[in-house]
Amino acid sequence: MKKFSWRGLFIIIFFCVTAFFLAPMVIPNLPSWWSKHHLKLGLDLRGGMQILLEVDTSELSAADARNAVEQNIKIIRERIDQFGVAEPSIQKLGENRIMVQLPGVSDYKAAENLIKQTAMLEFKLVAPQDEAKRVIETIDRNISSNLDKFPILAEMAKKDKSIMADTTSTDSLKTGEGIFSSLIRPGEMDFEVQYSDVRLIQDLLADTLFAQMVPMGYQLALDKADTENPRADRNLYVLSSAAQLTGGDLAKAKVEYGSATSTDPRIANKPYISIEMKREGARKFERVTADNVGKRLAIVLDGVVYSAPNIQERIAGGRAQITGRFTATEANELAIVLNTGNLIAPIKPVSTSIIGATLGADSIRKGTMAGLIGLIIVVLFMIIYYKLCGFIADIALVLNVGFILAMLTAFGATLTLPGIAGIILTIGMAVDANVLIFERIREELDLGKTPRSAVEAGFKRALVTVWDSNLTTVIAGIILYYLGTGPIRGFAVTLVIGIMGSMFTAIVVVRSILDNIVLTGKRTKLSV
């Protein structure tokens, strides 16, 4: 019986851990507590969508801001769950960023809309026609005296003037006069915007400078684009800016279909969303409708008017409909968003990547193949160059690759393409420790030492070098991990694990095999 050795214990632990985490990859039908540890593939390998969102917390206090990001994550998670995506990953990145990864999703547009919709639901009164006209006139005046702040409008005004100069003899037209109202024309009830100007109006509405031009208490909003006829003219509403009701008054929303015989063309045979208000909301709704009979109440979602029905009578019970020329998918999305509640703070996608599943599959196949070829070349080289010792180093190398995969599984890391590259690269670098040791052993043998003492001295000498050289690489890896993002991190993790594994296998496993199997008895020769 041999005496207890720490080295032996470590080797046993190393083997057990590696086997435990690798088993689910090879053996099917393991119990769930075991098989749940499996290596996750990154988006670049399985295809899908990744969105980096930024939460705009500029209008919240520091404490609220911290909370807002967490809350938003919760809401986004809920929405994605209802949308039905397997294994989504939603993480907070830095202070106010959220990284959403949706593997396997192919309806990118729907997914993106679902996530980023703030769904700020508001009910606002539409300003009566004469009031609206006055508001537009005021905006015109304000803009014309601040024309230098709106370069695009100023440019337009200059062009207008040169056109007019031909027809009007007097220079009566002041530059920029009526420039805003020239973009819109009065319609039947509201103002209309031609398709070609919609973009400009949208930009203006989003501009905070422009908001200052609008008289206090009012706001402008476009209506929703018609999905079936996207080039149609859009309506521009003048709303009173006070919200009568908000999303917080909402109890639940669901998609319904109008019957084909319905007299209302907005819902006939079309999906719409029926909403039910909370008790308090219902009371508010009743009061608002009672006070404003004859006026119009606009249902505004994220700053876009969905519908603006006329209030014909007092409405009790707190039920309303949101119509707005929806497609079925749109209606479904919207209902999910309304039910999961408002995002606490608005979010904006700052980067998006979409990776097709074909590309991913191709990458896996090619990456694995390149890895295998590389592995075979290195293994053969080691056997040819270092003979028996090379073969032992090869065992260590294969163990090391297994160890990397096992550790990635254990840490719940995702395997990305740069990760695969990291593994392949480690195959090349992993033999380094062994090469250092074997070269040292050869030198010691050349000095005429016996195999046993040559191995002893070789390991002792090489160890310092292995330690120094690998630690510097680990330092680079750790910094890469902390400063890098996404795929780069995956790469750093594989690199660092690979180095740890290679040091352990080279120093401990190879040494043990040499000591206990090769150098038994009185051998006078070592095959190295």
Partner: protein
Amino acid sequence: MRILKNPNIQFVKSRYWFYGISIALLLISLCGIIFKGLNWSIDFTSGIAATVNLKALDPKVPAVPIENLRTVLTKNGFPEAEITYIGNPANSTFQIKIKSVGKGTDLSTETRTKLLEIIQQNFPEYVQGRDLNKEVIEEIYEVGPKVGSELRSQAFWAVMLALIAMIIYIWFRFEFTFGLMGILALFHDVFLIVGFFALTGKEITMQIIAALLTIVGYSINDTIVIFDRIREDMKKNRKDPIQVVFNRSINDTLSRTVITGGTTFLTSACLFLWGGSVIHDFALAICLGILFGTYSSIFVASNLVIDLNLITHKERKTMQHLTKKKL
């Protein structure tokens, strides 16, 4: 089997030749970076990059010439789009890049949608019968301006911090001049790769930054093995002039340097040859890095330590300091 049996090559004596080669290469790189500039990818410049596969299902339909795609995109409001083949032109796989450098506005989701619409409308025979989202579009990246510039500074700091951390480590384990010159050799390696990418007009992507950091890790590893040997030999032969000791140490570690460089180079070469288009440039950067890294470890790093010490006449002190360190 041994490739190099007891080599005795005069690395130290002929060092000025290699300085000359290195300076020439560095100058070429510098010219490349100054005159051709770096082709930063969408990751850093922000904008949209899409990989589209326009290979028709019907084998009788001829492949799309790249000019056609260019004309169509120019006509439809994307004159600034850069279009390149990915892999063999017969596969009809293109990368379309629209950078938004300098523009304050975001390239929004609408741009993406519009791009897809243009392709769908202008190349009906190529997309027919194929799922636009799954088969035609292989990849789309869209990076906002803020993230782009952030990533660039992040990458820069990652490299800088890694270098500083390594100087400190080497300083602590060896001696300051070793740390300084080791890192100078690293700059040499990284600069040459970057110069190569500038000259060939290849994209600097996030992956390439990772490759650069890998090279930093690899090359310092190589250099340290030699430094380590120098430290050990210095203790054994305190009387020999440092040129002799350095040259012997480089020769003693030469076979290890060549073997490790060789195996790592071979595996990266496999990645380059068979790893697929996505990591092609990554593997290329690693291959180059191993070549430059191995070269600089053997010919540049330790020779620079000699020269710095000869110039400052501190070689005695430096070596005393070095050999005092405990291992």
